[in-house]
């Protein structure tokens, strides 16, 4: 007890990290399920269906499979670097999430021992620090490719480093426009600066004045996370599996999780910078919006209940859907209580916006073919970089004239 009162920051931070890590790891596991389901429906398939109701236990089965597979290390590999690479990739990808504010930092019921509960670390150079960590992310991929001491991983690693270096430039420059508008590098200041409405209904998100910057950011972010249509480092038709060809068992799973964690990070960043973070899209005067999270979950529960009765076959699938129904209904009813409703507002909008971005990612994967390598490079350097530079210069000039006059 004495220790807690003496070191409130340390204790609260450890609690927040533990909770956040649990949520993020679960989210990572279910993102794989979400992606497989969405891609399957785009391609007129069912996707995972048999392990649990609607394949809901598939991530668990995958996890168990990864844990119990034989973990092989190629004899010619550089052992130390070979083992270091997946740890580096995953730990760097997870570190960035500590900087993300999921809800308002001040307000009733939003602090624990005087510390905000919705962010692990509120740095006033948050954006810069996030770029510092993501710029290290290339090591995981490059070192994995090199240390395997094999042709395809090396080619994949080389491609990946070249691609990540090239698109990092556009990524960074495309968000400088937002920094100019917000006048700060801290995530909280950037979000607070987007409060308010044009014509009383249109939210003052940076998305509208920075629409060019937003599309540059989105493109560069997809390339940074090595996703289709920029997934050349692991193009299976050319390179088997690219940089992680030689990895098996849990080390492979770590690269997999790192990729999804990076997807979450860039979606969070897009939400914060261009879509107002945890701000609601509706004006404050519309008080019914407080009940949206609860109402949404109750609606989901009703849908699940109907699904349990109508579609599910067999005792276990019905039981699982029943549990999902009870969970969604229970949390939904809890969220309808006014004080709880006020607290979950921020995280609800933040999560909704992230899910839209994740869906966009999966949608792209389901519909677009892959770039050719020279197309990728010339697109990055000859189109994306000049456009984001022009966006920066124009934003700077407009702001200069607006603030002078």
């Amino acid at each position: 007890m004495e220790f807690i009162s003496q070191h409130p920051v340390l204790v609260v931070s450890i609690v927040k990290i533990a909770v956040l890590l649990f949520i993020v790891m679960t989210a990572l596991a279910y993102l794989t399920w979400f992606e497989r389901k969405v891609v399957a429906h785009i391609q007129s398939r069912w996707g995972p269906y048999f392990v649990g109701a609607h394949g809901l236990l598939q991530p668990l089965a995958d996890g168990v499979k990864f844990l119990f597979k034989e973990d092989m290390t190629p004899p010619a590999s550089d052992k130390f670097v070979y083992i270091l690479a997946p740890f580096l990739a995953l730990s760097l990808a997870l570190t960035t999430i500590a900087l993300i504010p999921f809800g308002p930092l001040t307000g009733p019921n939003l602090t624990l021992l005087g510390q905000p509960i919705f962010v692990v670390s509120n740095l006033n150079i948050g954006l810069l620090f996030l770029f510092a960590i993501t710029s290290m992310g290339v090591y995981g991929v490059a070192l994995a490719g090199w240390s395997s001491n094999s042709k395809y991983p090396l080619l994949g690693g080389l491609r990946s480093s070249a691609q990540m270096i090239s698109y990092e430039v556009s990524l960074t420059i495309s968000v400088v426009g937002v920094i100019l508008l917000a006048g700060s590098l801290g995530f909280n200041d950037i979000i607070e600066g987007q409060k308010g409405y044009w014509l009383h209904v249109i939210p003052r998100w940076h998305f509208i004045p920075q629409i060019v910057g937003f599309f540059c950011y989105l493109t560069a972010a997809i390339a940074e996370t090595n996703r289709i249509p920029f997934d050349l480092p692991e193009a299976e038709t050319e390179l088997v599996a690219g940089f992680h060809t030689e990895y098996s068992s849990f080390k492979f799973a770590m690269f997999f999780m790192a990729e999804y964690a990076n997807m979450i990070t860039v979606s969070c960043l897009a939400t914060i910078l261009f879509f107002g973070g945890w701000l609601s899209p509706f004006p404050d005067s519309w008080t019914w919006q407080n009940y949206l999270p609860g109402a949404g979950l109750v609606a989901l529960a009703i849908y699940c209940a109907i699904n349990t009765v109508v579609e599910m076959r067999g005792f276990f699938h019905r039981l699982q859907m029943g549990i999902v129904t009870a969970l969604a209904g229970g949390i939904g009813l809890l969220c309808l209580i006014p004080p709880v409703a006020a607290v979950v507002q921020g995280p609800f909008w933040f999560t909704t916006k992230i899910l839209v971005f994740i869906f966009f990612y999966v949608w792209l994967r389901g519909t677009l073919p892959r770039f050719r390598y020279d197309q990728l490079m010339s697109f990055g350097w000859k189109l994306l970089l000049p456009v984001s530079l022009a966006n920066l210069v124009i934003t700077a000039f407009v702001l200069l004239f607006l603030r002078r006059g």
Binding site: L128, A132, S135, W146, I165
Partner: protein
Amino acid sequence: MSLPFVVFFACAILAVAGGILLILAREPIHSALSVILVMMSLAILFLLLGAEFIAAVQIIVYAGAIMVLFVFVIMLLNAGSEERTNFSHIAKFVGVPLGFFLLLLTAHWLFHSPAGASIANGPGSVDVPDTTTRALSMLLFRQYLFPFEATSILILIAVLGALILARKEQ
């Protein structure tokens, strides 16, 4: 022992260990990795001093950009491991004593300078100037604008020079 104290010594030891590993490692990639270790520990030391901006830039520029290029080139050339040679006589009888002398000189200077005093007496014993990003950019773009722009032009000239050297003969 306070937490900053523990972090300082952990990072200081890591930085020195990284520096030693850089010289001792035989694989070029291992040397590059130890440089990254040094840069990361230095960045944490900057954070301890309250210089967040410099810490972030330290990681972005050195660990995130320059060392990535090093690793990239090492991978591309597939450089083999280094060969060990015998210690040369000049190094043994002149280099090592001179190195120790330099170390002593630095230590002596640190103990008798205000920077050293602030380390020895703990944080807060010497007035630290405002280290926020805003204060830093005010200095950079007001007081030191000319040196800043001159450096940018110098870098631009260097880039152009590299381009001309690397260009294929027409």
